[in-house]
Symmetry: C2
Subunit: 373 residues, 2 copies
């Protein structure tokens, strides 16, 4: 734990001095201490748990600063951004992979792995820079959450294809449940909490009762989210958002503590997956480069176009904000490996694409937002 935490923070400090986002340093620290460079650390179960908790608390903390009403207000634009950012990367990833002569199912999984934006990375950059209030940031967050829900539906679809048969009814139900849960909590969560929290608090005698209730809601909604077919982090974000208008400042402080401790494990954990096997042959290297460039462009351009009515600057911010894939792409590729439809070489390429988009996005975001000042 010491090695991961201290090296992540050291590199973060170095990056801050170089006027780069600290988050890049924390991921690079993971790359450096990971199995393919220094070999000090290998992904293990404990780091996995800390990393998952880290991204949950990160999203919960971001949710606490976001009002549901503001997110719902930008819902229309965000839906367009999310849809564009799902369809184009999927088709492009699929197409490139097919052109390279890869098998059909593997190509479909490659496309699916390019779909989901890592809302954690973008949210962390925006939160660190104090930019969560900006209009473009609201749209990015809303779009990233929708994108996450859509990405999980795509994953469910390609998984059932890998199993051999697609049950459209089941798939439709999954999609409806996932979307229904997200919409319901986003719409009613805040009101319910504003109503219930004071009543519950009045009955509690223990110290830091609000924090206890907040944690219970966080774990509860994260678990419900998983049952509803969406990611635990979506539940965590929704829990934060539901509480954003009713909790006292003390809860923010306490959550900051957990988040400050655990987030480095999430960030360095992404870096730990960095894999050099993709450099093994010239052909693989070209495919990696092509996939990486396609991953950046296929989010940047369609998402920016979908947000074009906001003007060039905000559209660009939205486009850039949707670029990082992070842990989600890695998870999809792992599932593909699990079904035996994805070769280890292609897995390495997807992982590299995920890590690289995560590394380039923060400086790009910083640049896109800096213009304004």
């Amino acid at each position: 734990m010491l090695v991961v935490f201290a090296s992540a923070k050291l590199f973060s400090e170095v990056c801050e001095r170089l006027r780069q986002p600290g988050i890049v340093g924390e991921i690079l620290a993971g790359v450096l201490i990971g199995p393919h460079v220094l070999g000090w650390m290998h992904p293990n179960e404990m780091l996995q748990i800390l990393s998952e908790l880290g991204v949950m608390f990160l999203l919960f903390r971001v949710g606490l600063e976001v009002k549901a009403s503001e997110l719902l207000r930008v819902g229309g634009v965000a839906l367009g951004v999310a849809m564009a950012g799902v369809v184009v990367p999927f088709v492009l990833g699929w197409g490139i992979s097919r052109l390279w002569g890869e098998p059909r199912l593997e190509s479909i999984f490659t496309g699916a792995a390019m779909v989901a934006t890592s809302v954690g990375i973008t949210a962390k950059v925006l939160a660190d820079k104090g930019l969560l209030e900006a209009r473009a940031s609201r749209i990015i967050l809303a779009a990233a959450v929708i994108d996450d829900v859509l990405g999980l539906i795509v994953l469910a679809a390609v998984s059932s294809m890998a199993k051999g048969q697609v049950n459209y009814l089941e798939l439709g139900l999954t999609a409806a449940l996932a979307m229904g849960f997200t919409l319901l909590v986003a719409t009613w969560g805040t009101r319910t909490m504003r109503h219930m929290l004071p009543r519950l608090m009045a009955r509690m005698s223990a110290a830091d009762g609000q924090f206890t209730l907040a944690m219970t809601l966080l774990f509860g909604l994260s678990m419900l989210a998983v049952y509803a077919g969406v990611a635990a982090i979506v539940g965590a974000f929704l829990a934060g958002m539901a509480l954003s208008e009713s909790v006292e400042h003390r809860v923010l402080d306490l959550t900051d503590g957990v988040s400050a401790l655990l987030t480095p494990f999430f960030l360095a954990g992404i870096g730990l997956h960095f894999d050099t096997t993709a450099f093994a042959s010239g052909s693989a290297l070209w495919l990696t480069l092509t996939i990486f460039v396609a991953a950046v462009i296929s989010k940047l351009v369609p998402c920016a176009l979908a947000a074009a009515r906001l003007g060039l600057r905000d559209a660009l911010r939205v486009g850039v904000g949707m670029v990082p894939r992070g842990e989600v792409g890695i998870v999809v590729a792992q599932i593909g490996m699990g079904f035996g439809v994805m070769a280890p070489g292609v897995y390495g390429i997807i992982v590299l694409m995920s890590v690289l988009t995560t590394l380039v996005a923060p400086p790009m975001l910083q640049w896109a937002y800096r213009e304004r000042k």
Copy 2:
């Protein structure tokens, strides 16, 4: 995680209403959801990790409120308390077990398992009631830390006996290293931090830099403590104490958050080990009762006597404060099982003794401290 956290907090709330310490509720919640009552939860690796982190942060947080100078001032009395509280339980545990006709090595391990006070439990009760400032509390904390160091030396000794040969030179070196490390950090830690922290802070540009440094020190000293042969939690406590005079309030808030999240896992985790196999036969039941009563008396009386010069009330508080055995006794019994010198039945009895002393101590402490008001 939801089940453990929510049930711990629910029971804590119930206990608070019954005017009992909330900590008892959190342990009882573990007993209830554990394998022998409802069977919802079994000890697993993830809970183990969260529980160990929980007690580390608990001790770190308590350390942050304790000045090293005040602890060293009561060092003489505390040393006497710790010594008395190591020798008497060991001899009594050994003797009872021998009288019951158990084998020699098993009896020695039973004695060793009765030695170490769980500083976490007492510290949590005192911290919750805001009693860390009291003179008796200082002595309990200092004695519990010394007791922990002595307990680990006893464990090293009985472990080498179980292996068949006692290397006195090695044992002496282990003891010297453990005591040297603890004394060194306790004596010089605060001064070093008061000197270094402002300099380091002046050079850091990242947000919440003090928290980052505090976490690095916490993990670093915990790791060093393990290398020096003492428990990680002793390192965590020393790290907190070293920082107690130099950190800003924000670090306390952030640490509170981590501690509030993780401590329930530590407390419920103790309860999860509750085991009913000790009730299997009449003889085992009698042995359990005898061991339990001996465990309470063998700490309460000698520790109170060793602190007699403070007057009856403070002596009683010190005696009661040293009673809980908690996780330490369970760990010793597990090691005994690992060496194959402790039968599962006796293991169950030790675990029950640990859980029970942990349950009775908080109300007794509350009562011992209440008199004054």
